[in-house]
Structures are given as C-alpha cells and as structure tokens.
C-alpha cells in the first residue's frame, strides 16, 4: 500500500493501464506539458510521450466524437473533458453515438472508452464550472457512470473503467483531488457495480457518493456522538447500480437519507428513492430524505456557495428529522 492523493491515484490507474496496453492513450485540452487543468495527468506526457498524451484543440464535440471512432476502430481512448459543465458541448456524441452504437448495430460494436471529467463546487468557480451532472449520464442506457469518493476507489475504478468494453463516464471531484489515503499498488481493480459500506451502522442508511461521501462520513461521526448509528453506503458507480446493497442496508436500518451535490430536481437521489419506495417500501420506518443542492444555478460568492452546498450540518439535521 502506498500513501497517495486521489489525483495521484487516478493517475496511477491510468499509468498502470497505459503500461499494460499500448492501445490506451489520453487526450484532451492541456493534458500534455500543462498536466491538465487540475494537474491530474502531470508527468504522463513526459513518461509516455506526445503520441499517447495528446493536447487537443478546444473542440469537445470532436474530442468525444473521435473517441467513439477510435474506440470502434480498436483503441482504448481516455478522453478528458476539462469540466463536467462542458459536457453539454459533446452530449450528442455521448447520447446518440457512444451509448447507442452497440445496440443499434445489433451488438456488433465494442466501444471501450473512458471520458474523464471533474465535477463539483467549493472553489467559487460559479455557475458554469461547478456543476454535478451525473444524473444526465445515468439517464442514457449504454453508458456506465463512475464517481469515486476516495483515493483507493479512484484508482481501482479507473483501472476497471479502462478495461471495460463500454463507454464509461468517470467523474472525479475537484475537492477530493488533494485528499490522501492508502492505495494498493499495481493492478488494483474495483469492479464496476459494487457498492461499498464505508461505515457500518444500524439506525439509518446514508447513501452518498463523490465529495458527499466525505461529508456523510463526517456527519455519521457526529451522529454517533449523539447516539445515532448511521451506516454510510457509497454506490461508487451509479450505473451499474448496486441496488441490492442499498436495499439490504435499508432492510437493516429502516431509514434512508440520500445525499448528493447535484441540484435536487431529477438528481440521482430521486432514482434511489424511487427504487426503495417501490422495492423496499416495507423495509421503511420513515420517509426517505434527500439532502441536495437547491434548484438554483451555483452562485459565485463564497457566502452563497456555502449556503448552496449540502453540508455535514444539513445531513445531520435531515437524519435527526427521521427520529
């Protein structure tokens, strides 16, 4: 085990696969010498050279669209979109090409491609550089959606994403990039579609992912002091979703709070709530709560951004309302 940051863990996952498979390459805006807008690809240009770590023009449509073509022709691209906020620019390529090609062709195409992109608020980057748009991708059958909440998962899920023969949207959180943790060395794989109980508990289940996992864990710590035992479950991948793990946990606790940073309406929390309200209705002792951002764009001023973001306090409050 090595001590690594989340950013280093992502990089290590890419490095392991690039060494193993010459068909894996990275491209995106400023991923080369510059090392990526958040430094995640730093050093890879030097290690793998300009043929495998490639700076693109500002052309997200062509970046993702050409990844589709390259994958269909046998490569395993890792495309970077600098902020998840820019995904609207290449949404057609994800929606109508990457996700559907295999199905439309009657199962006769394979599209092993990863689109890496950072999400999230907390740095006063305002409305166009702080969003959490994972729900959109989960609404597109044919894509897989990965959102690691800590360093080891970041690495293991990256390797799994690269090895997967389907288009995978890999969403990393800006606020987690510098978070350090123990990360297994070498070919460490975390399978897509397996949730992880990050903290065991018996009174309430908190489902949270990405940065919110950390907030949920902090809230659980506080709640423990007040005698409420919260189980914190990280789905880690939203598609495929480990529904059984969620239902099992709710079966144990009888209460469910879902936390996400995305705006409330039509966020992925709604999907989880709906699954449990249908398939786990009899397990529930209380209403299902969602702790989310409000239905507003993301404001710039730190005071406002702070008010906007789900927080430890808001999670604690929601949990307590169930007792």
């Amino acid at each position: 085990m090595a001590q690594m940051t989340y950013a280093e863990a992502i990089r290590d996952g890419m490095r392991v696969e690039m060494k193993r498979d010459p068909n894996v390459y990275i491209y995106g805006e400023d991923v080369g010498i510059f090392g990526g807008c958040f430094g995640v690809t730093a050093g890879l240009y030097q290690e793998f050279g300009p043929e495998r770590v490639i700076d693109t023009p500002i052309s997200e449509t062509a970046i993702v669209g050409s990844a589709v073509g390259a994958a269909a022709a046998g490569l395993r691209p890792i495309a970077e979109v600098m902020f998840v906020d820019f995904m609207g620019v290449c949404m057609d390529e994800l929606l109508n090409q990457a996700a559907k090609m295999r199905y439309m062709f009657g199962g006769k195409a394979r599209l092993p491609m990863v689109v890496r992109t950072p999400c999230g608020a907390g740095m006063s980057a305002a409305a166009q550089h702080s969003q959490s748009l994972e729900a959109w991708f989960t609404h597109i059958p044919g894509l897989k959606v990965v959102m690691p909440g800590e360093p080891a998962d970041a690495k293991g899920l990256m390797i799994a994403a690269i090895r997967d023969d389907n288009p995978v949207i890999y969403i990393e959180h800006k606020q987690l990039l510098n978070m350090a943790g123990e990360v297994p060395e070498g070919e460490y794989v975390v399978p897509l579609g397996k949730a992880d109980i990050k903290r065991e508990g018996s009174d309430v289940t908190i489902v949270a992912w990405s940065w919110m996992l950390q907030k949920a864990l902090a809230a659980a710590e506080e709640l423990a002091k007040e005698g409420i035992s919260a189980e914190v479950l990280d789905p880690r991948t939203l598609v495929p979703l480990d529904k059984e793990a969620i239902l099992k946990s709710v079966g144990k606790t009888g209460r469910l709070v879902i936390v996400h940073e995305a705006v409330r309406t039509s966020g992925f929390g709604g999907e989880i709530a709906a699954i449990v309200a249908e398939e786990g209705f009899d397990l529930l002792d209380a209403p299902i709560k969602r702790v989310t951002a409000p239905d507003t764009p993301i404001p710039f001023s730190p005071v406002l951004e702070n008010a906007y973001l789900p927080s430890e306090e808001k999670i604690i409050k929601a949990v307590k309302e169930l007792f």
Binding site: G65, A73, F105, G106
Partner: protein
Amino acid sequence: MELTKEKLLDMYKTMVRIRTFEMKAAELFAAGKLPGFVHLYAGEEAVATGVCANLTDKDYITSTHRGHGHLIAKGGKIDLMMAELFGRTTGYCKGKGGSMHIADVDLGILGANGIVGAGQPIATGAGFACKYKKTNNVAVCFFGDGASNRGTFHESLNMASIWKLPVIFVAENNMYGISNYQKNHMNVTDIADRAAAYGIPGVTVDGNDVIAVYEAAAEAVARARKGDGPSLIECKTWRHRGHFEGDPQVYKKPEEQEAWLKKDPIPRLEAKLIELKYASQADLDAIKADVQAEVEAAVRFAESSPLPNPDDVFTDVYAD
C-alpha cells in the same frame, strides 16, 4: 489503383446494385412493407461508388441517414441490409437499427447515422486509430451539404488537419438539406472552398461522373496513406427522390429536377463503357438482370426471415 476495364465494370455493377436496391426499397415502402423512415440514395450512386472503389475492407467509412449507397459501395451485403429494413433478426442489426443505423464493423463500415454531421468526428477518430496503429489505412467520411454547416464539420476538419490524420471528407452536395436550398444555407458556392480554413486540399468534382469522383478520391486516399493528412472532396450531385420516401418535394423546381435527371450517373457511365468498348448494351443488360435477381433474392431472404422476439429488446445494450 488504375481504372481498368474490370474495375470500371465493377463500379458499374455497384452503381446498378445501389439503384436497384433503392428503387426496390421505394416500392416496398410505398406498399407499406418497410417501417420507419427511408432516405434513398438514387441519383447519387457515382459518389459512394467512385470513392469506395479506392478502399479495402480494412479502411473505414462513416455514413449518414442516406446510407444504403455507401454501405453497398463498401461491400455491405444487400440481403442483410434488406432484412434490416424489414426489421428481421437476420438483418445487419437484428432489426434493432433499421435503415438509419446499418453497420458492418468487420467491413470498416462504422454505421449509417441518424444524426446529421455525427459521422465527421467518428471518422476522424477512426483515422486517428489508423495513424496511431500505423496500419496505413484510411477513413472516409460521407456527409451532405446540409451537414457542412454543423459544428462537427469544423471541429473534425480542424482536428484531422493538425494531426495529419488519414481522413477523406466527402461532401455530397445534392443542393438541399431537406427543403433548404444550398444558397439559402451557406454563402459559398463550393463547399470545397472551406478546406482552406484548415490548410488542407479541397476540390470540387462532378459527383455524377464516377470516373471524376474516383480520380479525386484516388489522389486524396494516396495522400492520406502517405501520411500527408486529410482532404475535402465536394461532389455535386442530386437526389432523384424526396428527402425521405413520402416527401412531396414542394420545394423543388420541376425544371431543375428534370435537368438533373438527364445527368443521371448510370446512363452516363453506360455510354462511356460502350464508347470505350468495355461492354455492349447486351453486357450491361445482363449485369442489370443479375443485380435485379440479387435484389429480389434479398427481398425473399428478408421476407422469409423471422421477426425478433420481444425479449430481444433487452440484449446488446452493454458488452460484457
């Protein structure tokens, strides 16, 4: 590749195969036998044929909503195509795709496409793969005059040009995007002029002259294989039929339609073949009869193939 007698007769047969397939599809659609949208390539056969005659099975193409011609020219099997139009399990896509999504990845056909302009970045990516793997193969991207106004055009040509990718962009200028006349949707006469914006060669050819198309494509393909990067070829042509089957074409001037029908690429090649003494009228008639039989057989194959099982809906979403 030289244009031998054999090659030219081959191209003729391909053009006839496309036309025959398309007219059969029109007939079947009118008879209510084909579900969904059908966009026909009749009249534009020289473009796909002239271009694809320069390609091997290892080269890639991306096609459009008007894809039958590209598929046939690249070697697609018409029985599997026809079965797909009928929505049968034996079709190219097991009935899941239909006319707008037929593909044959083994033949390098990365699919017809229902999204105008979507093939442009896909072909760019396939060309990237050829270069990355140093295979010496190329990717050809077919698209319309209308598609030349999409952002994908710009981003793709720029990307292909800076990385000198082996991609040939073929603009099929049939003068209309659905009802929108070319002079109303762009302010240049020749789409080929847009190549200069990317520092790549751009040529305009008579898209109803299969030999002219072949030669322009030969040059662009050779250039691409040599590592000299992409080209843009504009082929001026005309669709004989409506945008889709059922389109009353209120927007087309009858005299224009009539003038273009006279420039039909098939009789034109026939005249040439006879002039070159590569074939007699009887030879050509024999080819047509052959192809007609092929197409009829394809229809029989399709009609006698099983329909999908409702549960097939759930398969083929993900590769495992």
